[in-house]
Symmetry: C3
Subunit: 266 residues, 3 copies
């Protein structure tokens, strides 16, 4: 593909510095905050029901990540999400561990039912569970879905009216019509906790500055994948890789994305 559109979107994010409200887990929250800044956004984390809606109203995107969910957090997600929907602020959902426990699966279904989600981004197991196909999730890791992931994602996206992202060696992004495949990334990213959550945060940054959810998600995943590739070259293990990943994401220029994004139609 012509990478101009992805490069322009990253440039736009850096220029606008959109406020991205997160209701997310306490495991990777610091990494989400820092990668949001590296991508060009301004992160804010606020999960009390007393302020979740008000903070969402101030923001340009809302990221919901159920990594360490509880019933109070789901309540705040609903409050924030309803406010976001009212104001046409895009919501990006990361259904971490959906399928591993009933509580995670049901909470995701509730969020999908009660809110208008712009983009849902998970691994094959999580998306398979939400799409209603036979899938397996172990803890927060995918053990795969039954069927062709592109077909499952496309059908789910069309039926739900959502942009669906399946992360993996090749990321699949579809709104039910268009399918984009992102081939950037590096196996080192799988050795670090939180790279999935970080990718979701960057997707929030990109969704904040573009109404085209497919292009926004592709930009986010290509940029983060490219940063991961470059960080891997400079690392000898997950500790140095993590440090390099933030560096590379921060210094990644729109021109780098123009040259280095590997995105094709699926």
């Amino acid at each position: 593909m012509d990478n101009q559109i992805f490069s322009a979107l990253l440039s736009q994010a850096r220029k606008q510095r959109p406020l991205v409200h997160h209701i997310t887990n306490y495991v990777t929250v610091n990494d989400c905050a820092n990668i949001t800044i590296c991508a060009g956004g301004a992160p804010v984390m606020a999960d009390a029901w007393e302020e979740a809606g008000e903070m969402a109203a101030l923001s340009s995107a809302l990221v919901l990540n159920i990594g360490t969910l509880n019933s109070g957090i789901i309540k705040s997600m609903i409050f924030a999400g309803k406010m976001a929907n009212e104001r046409k602020i895009p919501i990006v959902l990361d259904p971490v561990g959906a399928g591993a426990t009933r509580f995670r699966t049901e909470s995701c279904r509730r969020l999908l039912d009660e809110l208008t989600i712009a983009t849902v981004k998970g691994n094959a197991g999580e998306i398979g569970v939400l799409a209603g196909v036979d899938s397996k999730v172990r803890g927060v890791d995918s053990e795969g879905m039954k069927g062709d992931p592109v077909t499952v994602a496309r059908t789910f996206a069309r039926n739900a009216g959502i942009t669906v992202v399946i992360s993996g060696a090749t990321d699949i992004i579809t709104d039910g019509e268009r399918v984009l495949l992102v081939e950037n990334g590096h196996p080192m990213m799988g050795t670090l906790s939180g790279t999935g959550c970080m990718a979701t945060s960057i997707t929030g940054v990109c969704a904040a500055v573009s109404d085209d959810r497919v292009i926004a998600a592709a930009t986010a995943l290509a940029a983060f994948g490219l940063a991961g590739e470059r960080a891997a070259e400079k690392s000898r293990g997950p500790g140095s890789f993590k440090s390099a990943l933030f560096d590379e994401m921060a210094v990644l220029a729109p021109a780098d994305l123009l040259a280095g994004a590997r995105i094709k139609y699926g």
Copy 2:
């Protein structure tokens, strides 16, 4: 100024290794714990109401940071704060995001009303909101206050009987009479989530070993700023900067502060 007093205070912190109890947010809490150690303190984090008061009573300073507040945490802050007040243990408050939502603003006012706070440290927007002047906060970032920050800080400090710190390119510290300006620091610090929280934790360490709140805050901000300057020289982005920031804070010697603190009267 003669930097001897700041240098001596840092030396004292390293010698006493004061226990600094934190009730703080889950976004930057790990960084706060580590920077407290680097500065010479021993961090402890405990936010359950069942133990917040007892832990505060064991400590030499109490840091209250509302970054991810909720009503339970505010309750624990009040419990811990009352115990700290009883024992004459200094409380340092970081009103993260005050002004962004009513819940944050009102929670800060409640803490200021019900507790005797030694030092409040925030950005211009947050302090402006608490001081009652026209100010703007977007998420957790300042968009400035109306009026001269030194005058606002001094008036607020005098009226409330609190030492007030406005962090920024030049940090302003005042107890309503004296005004100190700290010029250490580096723009890279603004690219990393949590540097504001970390500065507050170090202020807690310094307040634990000195009754002079103005000198304690100036020592903390100059030391942390100097560490930031040195870390920036060794970094290529926010990941390597973060790593270097802890290194530099840990190896920063009182003699370095003697030579490198840039503090003047305002």
Copy 3:
């Protein structure tokens, strides 16, 4: 000792990649997740009572760490622990700060009473408190126990039917009969928040793949200590040490443990 058994256990962990469920504190949770991966395990963190039991049932070990406990978390620990006991899944308990507040001490006693704990790992002060000898804990740091730590640990282990680990310059591990002493480690580990928690997570990984609790704990502490020794050589302060610690733990091969573990009978 012949290090073959420790080396083989690390090899086994890397091969099986056991799921290790954590109910842990929000200060060091990210470090626990990452070190679990480095050691060969797959971490999952889930503390809502609605899913704690179900997640535990999927796992190969359960790590309970009371670093930032509250009554809801203790309830979830009991739920998860009972499920783990039913399924014969080993539980590793880190009684962070036991002895500092009554709430911590009593919560640990409750966990020890209501659950069958496989291994309890703490510093001298924490273990002393639980063993019922005169001990002192300041925040989360040990200020020592009265009496000989090996004798205290052995008596406590025998009476409670638990494997007891006292971390320190020399780690003590005993099931009441055998005593192993691990001499790996480096003073730099004490300058970083969370190394104790990380050691507990690795103990969980090792307990997941071996029924011999003493050998599992010794493998974990020797491997982590060895990684710490190597990381220290490459570091100039706690920031670079942290990064190197994850790198070294990830690249540590079973052969390295064969050559470098310093474990002896006590």
